[in-house]
Structure formats: C-alpha cells, structure tokens
Subunit: 93 residues, 2 copies
C-alpha cells in the first residue's frame, strides 16, 4: 500500500505518504555523506539521530537535531553528513 | 540494509534502525483501527498526522499530534485509531 524508495545502495530508505501536510516521506539514513537534488521545496525534519546539512551555495554545515526542520528550495541540491542511523520526515511543497 | 515490516494487510509499514536512542522504527499507518501488542516498553511519537490512542485497561481515547509522545508498558496492548495517513517513531526500551 505504501511505496518505498531506496537510494545510495540502500543506505537511505523512505516510505511515501500523503495527508493534510501534503506529500511527504519518512525515512532512515545510514551513516554516510549524501547529495540530494530537489524538484520541489522540501521541509526536512530530523526525527531521530542528527544531520549535518550544507545547502547549495553555502560553505557552512549546520547541525539539525530531532524535531528541528530546515527548508530546501526547489531545483537545487543539498549535502548531508550523517554519523549515526538517523530518521527524518520530508514534506514536499 | 534497513529492514521493513508490514502489518495489517500492508496498512502499516515500518523501517527499523538503531542509534543512541536505542532500537527504533519509523513508519506510516493508513487510516484504520489497529491493536498492537508490546514485548518491550515503547515510546511512540507522532511524526505526521494524528493518532487516537487507548491504552490497555483504559476507557479513554487520547489524541496525539506531531511530536507528542506516549509510553506503552511492556507485554500489554494498545488500540489506535488513525483517520489520515500518519507517521510515527517508536523507540523500544
């Protein structure tokens, strides 16, 4: 019933769903460094663990902890470093 | 790499992970009514949507919204009503 998507040799796995927040996923990332490309605006909320985030055009890495959210613009990319299994919610706008 | 588990005719799907919070899952539930049995203490946190929760031995249904957490004792059961796709984190202690 729910669709899963795997990325980066299955080191990132997500489940898609949709409700009043819009189209969304919850997922888990294994430790690693990842670059994601966006096609819509994304609101990423850390659910467990921790994510180091570098937005496109920024030199800075910012740390996000559980229930903290960062916004990524559409049609850009962002870099993530994860040092422990970490879970997230992503809402697509 | 990450193990998924499906329950209730695939209306509930979860991904298992483990980090400093302990053994955990994130998952999604489709609308429906579910009874879950526990083998360990569970800390359930709503991530998106809403869950109506009735703990074992209680007549009351309590509503939990995103980032609200309820605790379920080990070796008991609890009832959930979900009226919209809802996601959650569960930590097993």
């Amino acid at each position: 019933m729910f669709k899963t998507n795997a990325y980066f040799d299955d080191k990132v796995l997500s489940i898609a769903f949709e409700n009043q927040e819009g189209k969304a996923t919850v997922g888990v990332m294994a430790p690693g460094e990842y670059t994601f490309e966006t096609t819509s605006v994304e609101y990423m909320t850390v659910v467990s663990g921790e994510m180091q985030v570098q937005l496109s055009g920024s030199n800075d890495w910012v740390v996000y902890k559980p229930f903290e959210t960062f916004k990524v613009e559409a049609n850009t990319s962002f870099n993530l470093k994860v040092t422990t299994d970490s879970s997230y919610k992503c809402i697509y706008k």
